[in-house]
């Protein structure tokens, strides 16, 4: 586990705490930035550290969002009445109802998504590489469509989240900090996880899964836990995001495969997969670039996103972090045998 490094961690902490007060106009955008960091970090647990490219991790974001919505609603109201009224009937939540609901909702979102990952894992993990990639992608795509046909949860029209009992500023501030802490929590957890035997085992699976099996590693166990961990944090982020937006809708908000789902991959690749800081760097860079340039592309930004992935994979596989590590290996504590590499 990384120990506290004032030069690295302190500025980020200060920025994260001060940002909503210093530049309040963009609180939501920065909150989304923290969600992006969480996305990239969780994608990398599988994609980078373990070598399993999940193209449908957004599934757990959406499942978390729906689970928390349902928990929050059902604790104090009847779900089918609630969704049928689509906001027309006034369900007013008291302060304590809202916050208890939110708390349980977030927890249930994390746990429920993790369980979902664990149960899907059995089907998808035996099937390596291509099946995993296309299977996850297919399931995430379908999840949105299926939710769109399910009347009980509001079908394609979606459902409104319980209304925050307070001012709009108070709401954005609260969710800002929740997103920030969720990202920090994910970072700390990953940082710890990669320092344990577990981290080594998933790296081993990435490098040579057959060898790992031949050495007696419980590969299925590790893979399932790794995916559940990703899903846990993604589920929480989904719960936060849904509450922050105030509205859950299947295709664009809960299961946005074509946007957030692809951003996860692109950000981790850009920053350098398989490293702790790469995905963070990639997420920050990508998010800033996106916020400033997205609208100037006139629709071609989606094409550019695909091009970014291709160029990244083909010409810049190591990503920014990997490139830095190659350039300045001593700084990262990597020992290069000069004689060996000189040949």
């Amino acid at each position: 586990m990384e120990s506290f490094n004032p030069k690295l961690h302190l500025p980020i902490l200060i920025f994260g705490v001060a940002a909503p007060f210093v530049i309040p106009g963009v609180t939501i955008q920065i909150a989304v930035l923290w969600v992006m960091v969480l996305f990239a970090l969780t994608w990398d647990i599988m994609g980078g550290q373990m070598g399993y490219n999940s193209l449908g991790n957004i599934l757990f974001f959406g499942s978390g969002m729906y689970i928390s919505a349902l928990v929050q609603i059902s604790m104090f109201a009847n779900v089918s009445e609630y969704t049928a009224s689509s906001g027309a009937v006034d369900f007013t939540y008291t302060n304590s109802e809202y916050f208890w609901g939110l708390g349980w909702g977030i927890l249930a979102a994390g746990i429920g998504s993790a369980l979902l990952a664990a149960s899907l894992g059995w089907t998808l993990f035996g099937l390596r590489g291509p099946y995993f990639a296309i299977g996850t992608l297919g399931i995430a795509l379908t999840a949105g469509e299926l939710m769109g046909t399910w009347e009980w949860v509001g079908a394609g029209g979606g459902l409104a989240m319980p209304v925050y009992p307070g001012s709009a500023d108070g709401k954005s501030l609260m969710f800002y900090f929740m997103c920030f802490f969720a990202a920090i929590g994910t970072y700390l957890f990953c940082s710890w996880l990669y320092s344990t035997r577990f981290g080594l085992a998933i790296n081993a699976i990435r490098d040579d899964e057959q060898k790992a099996e031949a050495m007696g590693i419980h590969t299925l166990r590790y893979k399932t836990i790794a995916w559940s961990v990703s899903a846990f944090f993604l589920g929480i982020s989904g719960a936060l995001f849904g509450n922050m937006t105030g509205f859950v809708e299947p295709l664009e908000v809960a299961f946005p495969v074509a946007t957030f789902g692809i951003f996860m991959v692109a950000m981790s690749l850009l920053g350098g997969k398989g490293t702790l800081w790469g995905p963070i760097l990639g997420a920050v860079l990508f998010h800033i670039l996106k916020e400033f340039t997205w609208t100037y592309f006139l629709g071609w930004q989606w094409v550019a996103l695909g091009v970014l992935i291709i160029v990244n994979v083909v010409f810049f596989q190591q990503g920014i972090m990997g490139w830095l590590m190659e350039k300045f290996p001593e700084r990262f504590g990597i020992i290069v045998d000069k004689k060996e590499t000189a040949k």
């Binding site: 099946y131 992608l137 379908t142 970014l308 083909v314």
Partner: protein, 300 residues
């Protein structure tokens, strides 16, 4: 759902309609899947952009149709255009990832899929399109089964194309070189086969096959920029179920998938089409999982 099932049992002739439609559309699935099996088997590239190649081929035929050229003429054009496109993709992307690990080629073709779908969307808009062939639509069994002539034509063309590809692989020098490379690339290189060229050709051939499948799909069904992923999943389902290097299996699985999808769509409702395909994928994966357990392949 039960209503729909009872229709099928009450009026068995509906089954004929579903089966016929399934076979017609399934033949194009089989064609595209054969292309995937080819690049998978020969180059070990799992092309996630397979379905987007299909859709792109469809748009070529559709666009020509809009210019007043009959989409059946669009078929050869689509084949040629996609062959060239495949070559360009090989040279710019695939060649550079082919000897890296599998994750690389997967992610690269994933990026390519995004580029293609989004570019088609920008160029042609998100509407669902069909290339009009203006062929007659005939009815059988007292008007309870309708079959458009174009579907029959397309079915026949699929067969012709499949036979052409098989003959090509058997008899031409390039076909033999492809098979030799698939067997053992290093040995092929030692024997003086330019494997880079073989790979380029294989990948382009796959794109051309997709182009043909897409052109036919645009005539007998619908195309839309984002339908590519659905076709990719179909190809993966078929190849997974049939295994590669097994043309008969691919054809059977393709036709079977077409029929099952028709039934699924009819029984559950059209909005479950994609869900049906993914459901089949999961089913095939579970089956494979059990199979592999039996073969001591997978853990615990």
């Amino acid at each position: 759902m039960w209503d729909n099932i009872s229709i099928l049992t009450a009026a068995p002739v509906f089954n004929i309609q579903l089966i016929l439609d399934g076979l017609f559309i399934g033949s194009t699935f089989a064609l595209a899947a054969y292309g995937l099996a080819l690049v998978w088997g020969v180059m070990n590239v799992k092309n996630l952009a397979q379905g987007d190649f299909v859709i792109m081929g469809g748009y070529v035929a559709w666009w020509l149709g809009k210019q007043g050229i009959h989409p059946l003429w669009g078929l050869p054009v689509s084949i040629v255009v996609m062959f060239v496109f495949g070559w360009v993709v090989y040279v710019t992307i695939i060649r550079r990832v082919i000897d890296k690990d599998m994750f690389t080629s997967l992610l690269a073709t994933f990026g390519l899929a995004i580029v293609l779908a989004q570019a088609l969307n920008l160029m042609f808009g998100p509407e669902v399109q069909t290339a009009e062939s203006d062929f007659a639509i005939r009815s059988y069994f007292d008007n309870s089964v309708t079959v458009a002539d174009i579907k029959l034509v397309a079915f026949g063309l699929c067969g012709v194309l499949a036979v052409a590809v098989v003959l090509f692989m058997k008899n031409s020098r390039m076909g033999q070189a492809i098979r030799a490379t698939a067997q053992d690339a290093r040995a092929a290189r030692v024997m003086g086969i330019d494997t880079d060229k073989v790979y380029a050709f294989t990948f382009s051939l796959n794109a051309a096959i997709c182009g043909a499948a897409g052109a036919l799909i645009s005539m007998i069904w619908v195309i839309q920029p984002f339908y590519g992923i659905g076709h990719s999943i179909r190809s993966f389902v078929i190849v997974t179920a049939a295994g590669f290097g097994n043309l008969g299996g691919v054809i059977m699985a393709g036709l079977g998938l077409g029929v099952m999808e028709q039934y699924g769509g009819f029984v559950l409702g059209a909005e479950f089409q994609q869900a049906c395909v993914v459901g089949l994928l999961v089913a095939v994966l579970i089956y494979r999982q059990l199979e592999m357990r039996r073969h001591r392949q997978v853990v615990q």
